[in-house]
Amino acid sequence: MRDVAIIGIGHTKFGRASNTLLELFSEAALQAIDDAGVDLKDIGAIFQGAALPGFEEGQVTPPGFSAAELNLSPIPATRYEGACASASIAIREAAMWVASGEYDVVLAGGVEKALSMGTLYATRTFAMACHAPTEGPVGLTFPGVFAMAARQYSKNYGISIDKLREKMAHVSIKNHRHGALNPLAQFYNKLGDLKVEDVINSRLVADPLTLLDCCPFSDGAAAIVLCSAEEARKYTDDPVYILGTGQGSGGPLSKMEDLTKPVSRISSARMAFKRAGLVPSDIEVLELHDCFTIAELIALESMGFFGWGEAADATVEGLTDLGGKIPVNMSGGLIGKGHPIGATGASQVYWLVKQMRGEAPKGIQINPVPEYGMTDTLGGDLGTLCHIILGRTKK
């Protein structure tokens, strides 16, 4: 298997978009192609994440039409669907196909128009990523899933709900502070100076999670161009290498031993670390799936960055912020930057590459430029997990 590099990146403004899904994806794709300096005709295949295009625009099988919009027909173009992890599994597959030698240069990314659906309908369609037979009739929502996890976290570690809500608020404060500095974020120049009281006093969505514990619904797209590592320097002086990936599957919530210790995430992260030959202490920047404040804490512990029950206090102490042990979601994460679900994994990779090139916006660039970074993306109620480890040098 060949080593694989990222040579180009693209990212639309997240928020509300008037463009079509296909236009959003094309915009990110063309940015990535221009950034890589490749010709359109060099692209051998398209790997596209999209979770709910059928419900957003009545558009099933968008990748074929994306290929057509870019005048790339008839190259293979495939949709990857892993709910909110769709783009991450698309990128993982793209890297595998380049590594195999089947393609030399490919386009991977994702797109979503969730904000355009409105809250009621979007909440319904997102809940389709729950286990429909058992969780459907209950009326479970995604905030509901993580609210149940938060209550279990509180019980497991003997932290009162009121105390936990204060601790969780620090995740929202940090990620909104970062997002407010990111011009492509949904909340750019907004909510950058939240207080604990703002978060815990905002509207209850699913007890104990409030609106400011939740990421928003978003429209947007992100894309990257990948090629074999040996060819990368032909195109760019700053290739970023895919050092390892992992993927894991979960199941219905009722079959999980503990919602705060998802086996799907633990297994996927370990697979990525093993492939990369790295351990958590090697990683210098994380873009992880903070769909809710509690989700960031669970992710940090499941990936091995903190012990069980330790991520809440670590966050309050600033260990996950700039200058801390491991800066997390410098882009703003899902909470501050927005969460166009099928695009999120590609957005996470985009912002890691920006960090590793030293091109992140003022105030959120890590200094010195990080050598190793990692993404964590969660689809469904812990049903599809994917991790991607990037590095500035080959293994």
Partner: protein, 139 residues
């Protein structure tokens, strides 16, 4: 004879719920109980399964109060999804029959028992109506 792959179908499980019964499967290999039904044992993957009925009793492991519902559940809110670890071993998801305004963390760990079921009429995406168990606090 044609091999039977689904010893207890989901439709039969839901019908059981509507009749006040929590049905499951006992594994011939590890003797543990699977509920809701699956084609293989949820613990060991064993394929020698026979039908059984659970007591419907268990312990509440977590819950939430949904304030912002999905489309189709507007009239239900606020309502309480919960996870219950049954006396027989497997966890099941259902609703808690309890005053949403009084639902606090102290509920976790309480003994509960199934006292009925809830049938969601379904929407154009749900493939018809579906049923979940409803639990009440038993202490």
């Amino acid at each position: 004879m044609e091999k039977k792959y689904m010893v207890l179908t989901f439709a039969e499980y839901e019908e059981g719920l509507r009749n006040g019964k929590l049905l499951g499967l006992r594994c011939g290999s590890c003797k543990k109980i699977t509920c809701h039904p699956m084609p293989v044992c949820q613990w060991c993957g064993g394929r020698s399964l026979e039908r059984m009925e659970l007591s419907g009793e268990g312990e509440l492991t977590t819950f939430t109060v949904i304030r912002v519902p999905a489309e189709g559940f507007e009239d239900d809110a606020p309502y309480i999804p919960c996870l219950v670890k049954t006396r027989e071993g497997p966890c099941v998801i259902g609703r808690l029959d309890y005053d949403a305004e009084q639902a606090t963390q102290e509920l976790i760990g309480k003994r509960v028992r199934m006292n009925g079921s809830y049938t969601y009429k379904g929407d154009k995406y749900s493939g018809g109506a579906h049923t979940c168990p409803v639990f009440e606090v038993a202490e």
